[in-house]
Symmetry: C2
Subunit: 409 residues, 2 copies
């Protein structure tokens, strides 16, 4: 009979944490490095200390709650996620991973298991990127993907920098994030998509993350007054929009794993009685296979280069903004999660992460894997984000099984 | 041999006036009711007084420079335009009409012509609508199309109201704008479009103004994260954009006089990694024939209603925002302008105004007509707005001819 988590306690903790920054619409606003974020971390620290964990920080505000093992010279197994939320976020995004980590740790303590190596719960700083860009800030600095100095200079809408906030909360005096060694990392998170719910699965075994490429397509023509200029004398970049939008969305239908999204369209000048001189269309392409993603990129480049046709006063340019390569999680950890789900009797399927997570950063340095729980209608980054208690419990049980499997207990 | 204007003097006055609010890029920033606008009006008043004209105001800040006639109980013939500019405007938009009015009046005085009725140069308040919305404010109040009280409440970006500025400049104590009677109105203006230049004409005989209808097409679907949601499970309103944009632009190709413009496209939330829940597309339809404009409207309504097809989670709604009906100028005045251009040996053609002008307001009450001069590349509302001295002179000569024709001199 495998050890299981206390689902009721996990749920109670989720509800308690949600009160800090709780919104009228039952969501949560606990943005990174705000006083509310610190208050949430203090509550979490209290819970951790009660079961004997030691709290440690690093200079970018990542927080680790540690349980010593038999050999404390070994690098720790780390489990966790983040406690910061979007401004109109939900109660589960990130928080589930941290509090499930606490629940797993609590059960290990209750069962008087002394693991071979230390275990730690990570609470990464500013995963959301809502108050300070970019996202996955704390894990990104730890992984060496972001520079601490640059990150400290990032400012919020009021001009307050990450550095000022790290100083104010006393984090800056802690060790350099990159000094910390980790053996492996496991993260439970809500899916933030509709697949598990649609497939009726209890748990998702996350095999990796989509590669992501971001672009702006910049269409230019000649700005002119909407009244006097005959249609035939216009050089209206809007004429290119139908073929462009249709072509981009088609690139997303190459296979079931492909995604193409146009989140932003902007006209300049933004005036209803002026033919725009410029139209900018954002493109977000994703695929779990880097080669396929590259061929989607090639299709986009061809589409954009052939767009203007014969009107030489129209131009279309493809500007690549960001490329996050495909991430493949550690095969051993993925297998361990799959086996855990099976042995616990949960329905499960493999899934690829479409959203960004701290795991994507951590995976650049150490063996990493993730577990997903379904969320209602796939809705996240929204106050109406919702999961059921039994779903949180299932995810935490699989996390516990994977932890014990890794520790060889 | 017809009397002609002094083109060099007209040009010199244009250059002098352009210094007030002149910008580094050779444009003009002399927005309505600013100190610079008042300074420009003072210079104009000085010029008017030097040739014996009397200056009058009304309570909305319209200004009239009057030359008495033989019978001063007759309503005046009014010629003019506006002296206010866009924030990055040019030297000719509006100003040409006012200063050509001054030149016409100067020639009448110099020739010692005593007209049968008074003539006045109008300088309408806030034609541009740049600092205070709406545009054509002074002429709109005079014509009874706008309410003086509502107009006084209009505020600029700094929260200063039209009323405060009218009080500050001493205009408010003057008579109610609607008390003033006018016999007929003539306005010279730059075309603000490319037609006359492309056709190689010296002068445009403006027969009326396009009707304008403004809309927002609101497309809604379901907002979702760009990564996790499979394309087939999305309800992405962007899918409707190609057919919508193409359909709207096609409506503008019904005949040569039709115009269809999409000046604004906006997605909500405006985030590059979120499938938008809403896309709003602005539509500006124009035609000089009201019946044709109505059938363009009908086509747009059909296009929008048939857009969503089978996806019941997508909606498309057409919201009409504004309807400015077709304006037909006075047949007698239009004929008089055409005859004047012909007798002076200028090349000319009929043209329909695509932009808004004070004449469109004035025409609702009294016989009105306009003369256009070409402007380089059709560019206006821009510091690079440009006309040639001989073009200004040609327009002013035709205006003088039409004035003398009207007065029977």
């Amino acid at each position: 009979m495998p050890i299981k988590v206390n689902g009721a306690r996990l749920w109670e903790n989720l509800m308690q944490m949600a009160k800090i920054g709780g919104t009228a619409k039952e969501g949560c606003n606990r943005q990174a490095l705000t006083d509310l974020d610190i208050k949430g971390r203090a509550l979490f620290s209290d819970w951790c200390r009660k079961i004997g964990l030691q709290i440690q920080y690093d200079a970018v505000g990542n927080m680790f709650a540690r349980l010593d093992g038999r050999d404390n010279h070994l690098n720790p197994l780390v489990i966790g996620s983040h406690l910061d939320t979007q401004p109109t976020g939900g109660k589960y995004d990130g928080v589930l991973g941290v509090l499930a980590g606490l629940e797993v740790m609590t059960r290990i303590v209750e069962e008087k298991i002394i693991p071979e190596r230390p275990i730690e719960i990570a609470c990464w700083m500013n995963e959301e990127g809502a108050r300070f860009a970019p996202a996955m800030m704390g894990s990104g600095v730890w992984a060496g993907m972001l520079d601490l100095g640059e990150v400290r200079a990032s400012i919020d809408l009021e001009g307050i920098s990450v550095g000022i906030e790290l100083d104010r909360h006393g984090y800056s005096s802690h060790p350099d994030p990159q000094d910390k060694d980790i053996a492996a990392y496991l993260e439970l998170h809500i899916e933030q998509g509709p697949v598990l719910e649609a497939e009726g699965k209890d748990v998702g075994v996350v095999t990796g993350a989509q590669g992501i490429r971001w672009y702006d397509v910049v269409l230019t023509g000649q700005e002119t007054h909407a009244g006097p200029s005959p249609m035939a004398m216009r050089h209206d970049p809007m004429r290119l929009v139908p073929a462009l939008v249709q072509g981009i969305l088609e690139i997303g239908t190459r296979d079931e794993a492909a995604r193409a999204t146009i989140g932003q369209v902007h006209t300049a000048p933004f005036s209803r009685n002026v033919v725009p001189g410029k139209v900018v269309v954002s493109v977000d392409l994703r695929h779990p296979n880097e080669q396929v993603l590259q061929s989607m990129h090639d299709d986009l480049a061809t589409l954009v280069s052939e767009l203007t046709g014969e009107d030489r006063k129209l131009t279309s340019i493809l500007e690549e903004i960001w490329h996050s390569p495909v991430v493949a999680f550690d095969a051993g950890l993925v297998t361990s999660i799959r086996r855990g789900a099976k042995e616990l009797g949960y329905s499960y399927c493999d899934i690829v992460s479409g959203a960004g997570h701290d795991s994507l950063m951590v995976a650049r340095k150490v063996p990493t894997a993730m577990i997903f729980t379904p969320c209602r209608d796939g809705i996240s980054h929204n106050e109406s984000e919702h999961i059921e208690p039994h779903q949180a419990e299932a995810g935490a049980n699989v996390l516990l099984a994977a932890v014990l499997d890794y520790l060889g207990s």
